[in-house]
């Protein structure tokens, strides 16, 4: 009883397959670069991020454009932009990765639990989610941050607390329909416990959605942090973050475009890098997509 099958190739590990995708590797390299900056910035830059240089401004008080002594130019206080960007990577990574990750985690937990268990647990969780969703996120962030003393970790927490809602909502819907699928019933019929079903059979199917929301969330959270610092409830100056560099300087985008576009590009590249890895990961994890590139 043979059938028309092809010689089986030994399936390689997910990592090995990931490694064969050029774009994913590019993404990993870029993320590595950002992490490198975040950790080693003090050793890589020739100026401190907070040093205000007298020669960093023109006589009229205008910042210097890229090129020359300050490689990427200076900001409105005559500080070296390159150094600020590299140091800013730390804040932005914490926000974009940790806070966003935490939001994703809470959202996934709430959405999946509510969608899988239904019943009163589900109702309570979803009504709470609806409540949180009806609450203007920015206002909540402002109030929470103003009540606690602002610090990077508080801000990260606040961002996580306001950003999980949409993820929860979307995953809830997806989980409810997944939980109805026959193979979940099959697992239950085998006697599989809830934990096993949730982690082995539900979560893997949510990966694509989680990846889409997670990667898009990076920019959103990084910019939300900036909005908060702009309101005085984020990371306090002079600590740089990519977001607050933009916000500090956004009115100057014509006079000193580099102050807005360079940090903007940094955020974009970070988000894209995660997206490249995320997309590749999704395809690698999705067996129906094997055979593509």
């Amino acid at each position: 009883m043979s059938d028309t099958s092809f010689p089986e190739t030994r399936p390689q590990g997910a990592l090995a397959r990931l490694a064969r995708r050029k774009l994913a590797v590019l993404g990993l390299v870029l993320i590595g670069l950002a992490v490198g900056c975040a950790i080693f910035a003090p050793f890589l830059t020739s100026y401190g991020p907070d040093e205000q240089h007298f020669d960093g401004l023109t006589i009229e008080g205008a910042p210097l454009p890229p090129g020359g002594e300050y490689l990427l130019g200076t900001d409105l206080l005559g500080r070296d932009l390159l150094s600020r960007l590299m140091h800013g990577a730390r804040t932005s990574l914490i926000i974009g990765v940790v806070a966003n990750g935490l939001a994703l985690l809470i959202g996934t937990l709430v959405g999946v639990t509510a969608g899988y268990f239904r019943g009163w647990i589900g109702s309570v969780l979803m009504r709470f989610t609806d409540l949180m969703m009806a609450f203007p996120a920015l206002l909540l962030a402002i109030c929470l941050a103003a009540i606690f003393q602002p610090s990077l970790w508080i801000v990260a927490l606040v961002i996580a607390l306001v950003n999980w809602v949409q993820t929860a909502r979307v995953l809830y819907t997806e989980t409810t329909s997944l939980a109805e699928r026959e193979f979940i019933a099959a697992e239950r019929a085998l006697g599989a416990g809830h934990v096993r079903i949730l982690f082995l059979h539900i979560l893997p199917h949510l990966v694509p959605t989680i990846i889409v929301w997670g990667t898009l969330g990076i920019s959103t959270t990084v910019l939300l942090e900036a909005t908060l610092s702009f309101l005085g409830i984020g990371v306090q100056p002079p600590t740089p973050s990519w977001g607050n560099i933009i916000f500090e300087n956004q009115t100057y985008f014509q006079a000193a475009p580099w102050l807005v576009f360079l940090p903007g590009a940094a955020i974009l590249v970070l988000a894209l890098a995660f997206n490249l890895v995320g997309d590749a990961l999704r395809d690698v994890l999705d067996p129906t997509q094997r055979g593509r590139d």
Binding site: T4, S5, P11, A186, L190
Partner: protein
């Protein structure tokens, strides 16, 4: 290859007629990480007007892929035609651009797909889905298109065709959807109709009707039909010519008489030998041996209802009485078959026994009451394994099949990783799959292969009871025979009991010790196989038996009354439960429902 060389071209081609469709040396390959691999190689045949070509063969032999290739609908991007030609009249379809293919699809070649449940767009009305096919090919106004659509619906003899136009697919039963698919395919009177397992998903009575429908339509319109099926009974009833496929190759080709009466190839012979047949009805020998073991599962007065909500505050207004009081014992080493029309509650009983739906009454498995403690439930689940009706849906598409089969062992903490692996390989081989398949994913298998994976999975725990819900319906006869043999062997070896749910009476006739016939959530007849098939007491049972296709092309079937009405509905108002049927004992455990008021034709 040898098979092809021996085939006389004249066997298929009627002298003088120009073929509408001819396939020459068709090769279809899949691109994988390790290069191109052929799924179908060197396929050749020709098809003339008004004739029916059946492509039979084991599951996974490339039947569906071939038909998709003809339609130009191979799943992108991995699967492609890599050689040969498909000619419709004079045009080579493989060389046509998409635009030109669009003009041919639906218009000159139409196809009915294997899965009627998912093949209709859920958000579009039936009417729209019909008329747009018409409008796509003929310059007709809305009204004219509507008239044509209505005509097509009438042609497939669906009840209340006008009303159907405004309905959505989910409002129709599987059989009705299949008719809609046929109507859609036939609306434009195509030269060629490809029907891929048009009846596999349907129960016998509906299958009957659909087959007759196809025959009538062909007679009236002169359409050439390619009928893909693994059911030799269907082949015998409908086909003029037959191609037998195995492993992506044609092994035999000829007229239906030739193939059935004088099969040349050993594979064909094996295939035909494996076809289950209804044994001639013999009077029941008194007192069969099987019934005296220990009771493995006991259902007493099991009722399952589903609530339908509506009205203010979403109160329950209606109930679906899916199972309305079923009592049944299954003894050790016994196979009880549960037969009945689609929607009569067979699967619901299976689900209740697996602890998946809440029920009233009591179910005991291996002495443990379901609905008792969690530990009882777990123990019961180890004792009884459910093989689901739809194998694709029942397998997590993101797990390797090897892991899926090993899962029950992991869940119940049996064995080490190594021993489990060995067991998985062993199970695979037992169900006719190879160890190479272990690392693949469900979507990489054909429908029949998946079903075998599900069975392997159920066997992993060596349960005392296996509930097999339509487990062999999707299998080709040879595999079906092997699986049935396997089930039988397990029964001998481990004294496993089966609750065997099926609509295929021939299969049931071959495997069952006792048979329960269900209608609208209740058992209307119960007895040993010999009792039920030998002397069916309930008219509904008789109807079911009559509908079974006979795998003999010379068999003449007398036309039966067509059933255009819908099956009476199990949905009832709250507080209006269905009347319980009283069972009359005919002796020796043969019971039959007294009340015939529920009989569909009554």
């Amino acid at each position: 290859m040898t098979a092809l060389a021996q085939t006389q071209p004249g066997a298929v081609k009627a002298p003088g007629a120009e073929p509408v469709l001819s396939v020459e040396g068709l090769t279809i390959s899949v691109r994988t990480e390790s290069g191109l691999h052929p799924l179908v190689s060197d396929m050749s045949f020709a098809l003339e007007r008004g004739r029916t070509l059946a492509i039979a063969g084991e599951s996974g032999s490339g039947k569906s892929i071939t038909s998709l290739a003809i339609m130009g609908l191979l799943p992108p991007p991995a699967v492609r035609v890599t050689g040969g030609s498909i000619r419709l009249g004079q045009t080579d379809l493989t060389a046509l651009p998409e635009e030109a293919l669009q003009r041919i699809r639906g218009n000159r070649i139409a196809m009915i797909f294997q899965e009627p449940m998912t093949s209709l767009n859920p958000v579009m009305t039936i009417g729209r889905q019909l008329t747009e096919a018409i409008e796509a090919h003929e310059a007709l106004g809305r009204d004219a298109a509507r008239a044509l659509a209505l005509q097509a619906l009438r042609a497939v003899r669906i009840s209340e065709p006008e009303r159907r136009l405004g309905q959505y697919p989910h409002e129709l039963s599987g059989g009705m959807r299949q008719r809609i698919m046929i109507a859609m395919a036939l609306a434009l009177r195509p030269d060629v109709l490809i029907a891929d397992e048009p009846t596999t998903a349907l129960d016998v009575t509906v299958q009957r009707e659909v087959l007759e429908l196809l025959r009538d339509l062909q007679r009236d319109l002169g359409t050439a039909i390619i009928l893909i099926t693994h059911d030799m009974g269907v082949v015998a009833e409908l086909a003029d010519d037959v191609i037998v496929m195995q492993s992506g190759r044609m092994v035999e080709q000829g007229t239906v008489e030739q193939v059935f009466t004088a099969p040349r190839e050993p594979y064909t012979r094996a295939l035909l030998a494996a076809v289950p047949r209804m044994r001639p009805a013999a009077p029941a020998p008194v007192a069969q041996a099987a019934a005296r073991g220990q009771v493995v599962a006991r259902l007493s007065d099991v009722e399952v209802t589903f609530d339908v909500r509506g009205g203010l505050f979403g109160r329950v207004t209606h109930r679906v009485h899916a199972v309305a009081g079923v009592s049944l014992d299954i003894r050790e080493g016994e196979t009880v078959a549960l037969v009945g029309e689609s929607g009569c509650g067979k699967s619901t009983i299976a689900r209740a026994m697996a602890g998946l739906v809440p029920f009233r009454g009591s179910i005991e498995i291996g002495g443990k009451r379901l609905g008792g403690t969690a530990a009882d439930l777990r123990a019961a689940r180890r004792e009884a394994q459910l093989v689901f009706q739809d194998p694709m849906a029942a397998l997590d598409p993101r797990m390797r099949v090897g892991d899926l089969v090993a899962e029950p062992l992991v869940i119940h903490g049996i064995g080490t990783a190594e021993s489990r692996r060995a067991r998985v390989v062993d199970l695979f081989e037992r169900v006719g799959l190879s160890r190479r398949h272990v690392e693949r994913y469900p979507h990489e298998f054909s429908g029949g292969q998946r079903q075998r994976i599900c069975i392997a999975r159920a066997l992993a725990l060596e349960p005392r009871l296996i509930i097999a819900d339509e487990s062999v319906s999707a299998l080709d006869v040879s595999v079906q025979a092997r699986v049935l043999d396997l089930l039988r062997a397990l029964k001998e070896e481990f004294r496993v009991s089966y609750l065997f749910i099926s609509h295929d009476m021939a299969v049931v006739d071959n495997i069952a010790d006792r048979v329960a016939v269900m209608y609208l959530g209740q058992v209307v007849e119960l007895g040993t196989r010999a009792q039920v098939f030998g002397s069916p007491a309930h008219p509904y049972t008789r109807r079911l038996i009559e509908a079974v296709p006979v795998p003999d092309p010379r068999h003449q079937r007398q036309p039966s009354a067509r059933l255009d009405t819908e099956i009476p509905s199990p949905v009832r108002r709250l507080g209006d439960p269905p009347p319980r049927l009283r069972l009359r004992d005919l002796g020796n455990g043969h019971v039959v429902a007294e009340d015939t008021a529920l009989h569909p034709t009554a």
